[in-house]
C-alpha cells in the first residue's frame, strides 16, 4: 500500500511539475541551509583542531609567571619535581627564551631565541629543511651551535645555504657578541597557538643558561604525556600540584588538546544555534507543502470520490495524501542535501579550509523535513479523507 501511494505521489508530482518545483523550493532551501551550516560548523571545528594540533596534541606547556612567590622556583631542576608530581608524564623539557639580535656580514635579524634540549624538535614535530638538530652531547658540552627557523634563515642567508656558516649573537644592552655555527634550518612550519616556529632560533639549553644569559629562570616546561593518558586529567593534576607550590597566579598551563576541545565545543553550539535558525525556513517550507497539498486535495476531489466509491476507506485516503506530502518533503530533503553540500563546498573552498562532511546533518535535515511533511500534510489529508463520497463524485 505504501509503495502504491508512493507511486501515486510521484505521478501527482509529474503532472504538475512547476507547482511541485516551486513548493519544493522552500524545503530545498531550508534543508540546504541546515546542511550547509552544520557542515561548515564541522569543517571549522576540524580546521581549528587541526591547527591547534600543530603544537602536539599530547603536549602540555607550563608557563611560569615571574613574581615574588615564583622567584627561584622555576629552574631546570624543577623539571624533576614536576615529573614526580603525577603519573602520565613521559618527558619534561624546560625551555628558556628571550629576544636576540643575529648578524652576519651582510644581514641582521631580530628573533626570539629558545634554549632547549635536543628532544625539543621531536616533541614539537619539527622537521629539518637542511642540516639537523643538536645532540644531547652538544647540549651537555654547551656548544655554540644554532638551528634557524626558515624565515630567519632566509633573512640572514638569502642566497646560499646557512648550514656550516657562522652567525653572531648580540646580547643585552652592552652588545656582547657570541659566534655560533649554524647546524640546521627548519622546514616551514605553520604557527601554533603560542609559537612562531619560522621566526625563532634554537640553541642548546646549557649554552643558553651558561654562556649567553646568566639567568636560570625557565620560561616554559614542555610536558609530553605518556600515551594513553588523558590530557585533561593530567593537566588537572599538574594544576593542583602547581597551585600548592606557587598559587594559581604563579603559572599558566596551556595544552593544544584542551583549547581544541573548547574551540570545537564553541563552534558546535554555535552551529546548532545557526541550524535552528535555518530550521525556521524549513518550517516556512512546510507551509508551502501544506498549501500545495490543499490545492492537490481540492483539484482531485473527483478522484477521491471515485476511490471512495471503489472501496477506499478514510484511512486509506488519508494515507495516500500523507505519503504524498512525505514524498514531497523527502525529495525536497534529498535535493536540499545536495544543495547544502554544494554550498558548504563553495564556502569552504573560498575560505581555504578543508571540507568535513557531517553525516549527522543529513539525517537531521531529512528527518526534520519528513516530520514537517507529516505535520503539514496531516490537515489536507484529513480533509481528503472526510470528503463525502457522493459530493466528491458529483464534483466537476
Amino acid at each position: 500500500m505504501f509503495w502504491e501511494n508512493f507511486k501515486l505521489a510521484l505521478d501527482a508530482m509529474r503532472t504538475s511539475k512547476l507547482r511541485t518545483a516551486l513548493s519544493l523550493l522552500g524545503i530545498v532551501i531550508g534543508v540546504g541551509a541546515v546542511v550547509a551550516i552544520l557542515n561548515l560548523g564541522s569543517s571549522v571545528t576540524e580546521n581549528i583542531t587541526g591547527s591547534l594540533a600543530q603544537g602536539g596534541s599530547d603536549i602540555i606547556s607550563v608557563y611560569p609567571t615571574p613574581n615574588e612567590r615564583t622567584k627561584g622556583v622555576f629552574d631546570i631542576q624543577f623539571s624533576d619535581t614536576l615529573m614526580n608530581s603525577t603519573d602520565g608524564i613521559q618527558t619534561i623539557s624546560p625551555v628558556m627564551s628571550s629576544r636576540a639580535t643575529l648578524r652576519t656580514k651582510e644581514n641582521t635579524a631580530t628573533s626570539s631565541m629558545l634554549g632547549c634540549e635536543s628532544t625539543y624538535f621531536d616533541t614539537q614535530n619539527i622537521t629539518f629543511d637542511t642540516g639537523r638538530g643538536f645532540t644531547a652531547q652538544q647540549n651537555i658540552d654547551s656548544n655554540q651551535v644554532v638551528v634557524l627557523g626558515s624565515d630567519i634563515a632566509k633573512t640572514l642567508f638569502p642566497e646560499s645555504s646557512a648550514v656550516g656558516k657562522n652567525v653572531t649573537f648580540i646580547m643585552g644592552d652592552d652588545g656582547i657578541m657570541h659566534t655560533f655555527e649554524v647546524i640546521g634550518v627548519l622546514d616551514e612550519k605553520e604557527q601554533s597557538y603560542t609559537m612562531s616556529y619560522n621566526n625563532s632560533v634554537y640553541i642548546p639549553l646549557n649554552t643558553y643558561s651558561r654562556r649567553l644569559i646568566n639567568n636560570k629562570v625557565v620560561s616554559t616546561y614542555i610536558i609530553k604525556l605518556k600515551s594513553g593518558y588523558d590530557t585533561e586529567v593530567v593537566s588537572d593534576q599538574i594544576n593542583k600540584f602547581m597551585d600548592s607550590i606557587v598559587g594559581s597566579d604563579g603559572y599558566e598551563t596551556f595544552s593544544p588538546a584542551m583549547i581544541a576541545k573548547m574551540a570545537s565545543q564553541v563552534t558546535a553550539s554555535l552551529s546548532i544555534f545557526l541550524a535552528a535558525i535555518a530550521g525556521i525556513s524549513l518550517l516556512v517550507g512546510g507551509i508551502g507543502i501544506m498549501n500545495i497539498m490543499l490545492v492537490s486535495v481540492a483539484e482531485r476531489t473527483k478522484e477521491i470520490g471515485i476511490r471512495k466509491a471503489l472501496g477506499a476507506s478514510p484511512s486509506v485516503i488519508r494515507g495516500q495524501f500523507i505519503v504524498e506530502a512525505l514524498t514531497l518533503t523527502l525529495v525536497g530533503g534529498i535535493l536540499g542535501i545536495i544543495f547544502g553540500c554544494i554550498l558548504s563546498y563553495a564556502v569552504v573552498n573560498i575560505a581555504g579550509w578543508t571540507l568535513k562532511l557531517s553525516y549527522n546533518s543529513f539525517i537531521i535535515a531529512v528527518g526534520f523535513s519528513m516530520i514537517v511533511g507529516i505535520f503539514f500534510g496531516w490537515y489536507p489529508a484529513m480533509m481528503a479523507s472526510r470528503l463525502d463520497p457522493i459530493e466528491a463524485l458529483n464534483y466537476e
Partner: protein, 226 residues
C-alpha cells in the same frame, strides 16, 4: 439461488435544506434477488439517485432497514461502508469516472488494491476482467486514448473485477451514442446471463424495457413495479 441481495424495508432518506425537509425517499420497501436484472426508473427528482446511493452504500438511510447480501448497513461507520462498497458493489457511472492518469489495467486493479490483494494476483484478475469486456488488447492505454464505449467497458471491467454481489449502473449509456449504447447493453445482458445481479438506475424507458424487472419511483415512493 433465490437469495436476497438487496433488501429495503421502509427506507426513508430526508435532507434538511434550510427550513425545509426534503423527503428524497419516503418509505421504500424492496427486495432484489441474486441473478435479477432490475431497473430503477423515474424522472429526475424522483429519488432514484438517492436510492442508488443507499444501495451502493455511499449514503445511509435516515430510517428503515437496508441489507446488502444479507448484511444490515445500519449504524456502519465510513470504514465499514467502504468495505461493503469494495466487496459487494460494482459501480458503473454515466461519466465513466475512470482515473485519468492511470492505464486501463491499473484502473481495473484499483478496487483490488483496496481489497488488499497482492500486485501479481491483482494484475491477473484485472486482465481477466478486461478480457470479459473485450479490451485486453487496450490494457496499457489511458482513458484519454480510449473511445467512450471503450471507457465504459473499462469501467464495467472495474465493476466486475471484485466479483461483487451487485453491479450498480447509473445511466450507463447516457453518454454514448445509440449504437455504442446498444453494445454496452448487450454486455450487461451477457453479464446477467452469467449469473450476475445487475441494477440499472435510468430514466430511459427503452433501457428499462430490456430488464426483467422495473421499479418506478415518483416523489420518493415506489409507484409501479413489475
Amino acid at each position: 439461488m433465490s437469495k436476497s441481495v438487496i433488501y429495503l424495508e421502509n427506507v426513508k432518506r430526508y435532507y434538511v435544506v434550510g427550513d425545509f425537509c426534503v423527503k428524497a425517499l419516503d418509505g421504500v420497501s424492496l427486495n432484489i434477488n441474486r441473478g435479477e436484472f432490475t431497473s430503477i426508473m423515474g424522472p429526475s427528482g424522483s429519488g432514484k439517485s438517492t436510492m442508488m446511493n443507499l444501495i451502493g452504500c455511499l449514503d445511509t438511510a435516515t430510517s428503515g432497514l437496508i441489507k446488502i447480501d444479507g448484511e444490515s448497513t445500519k449504524g456502519m461507520n465510513e470504514t465499514e461502508l467502504a468495505y461493503i462498497r469494495n466487496k459487494k458493489v460494482g459501480f458503473v457511472f454515466q461519466q465513466f469516472n475512470l482515473l485519468g492518469r492511470k492505464t486501463a489495467l491499473s484502473n481495473v486493479e484499483t478496487p483490488l488494491l483496496y481489497a488488499g490483494i497482492s500486485p501479481k494476483r491483482r494484475k491477473e484478475m484485472a486482465m481477466d476482467a478486461l478480457e470479459i469486456v473485450g479490451l485486453k488488447d487496450r490494457m496499457k492505454h489511458k482513458p484519454t486514448e480510449l473511445s467512450g464505449g471503450q471507457k465504459q467497458r473499462v469501467a464495467i471491467a472495474r465493476a466486475i473485477v471484485t466479483d461483487p454481489s451487485i453491479i450498480l449502473a447509473d445511466e450507463p449509456t447516457g453518454a454514448l451514442d445509440t449504437k455504442t449504447g446498444g453494445q454496452i447493453m448487450e454486455l450487461f445482458e451477457s453479464l446477467n446471463l452469467q449469473g450476475r445481479t445487475v441494477v440499472f438506475v435510468t430514466h430511459d424507458v427503452k433501457l428499462g424495457n430490456m430488464c426483467n424487472r422495473q421499479i418506478h419511483l415518483r416523489d420518493g415512493k415506489i409507484v409501479e413495479e413489475y
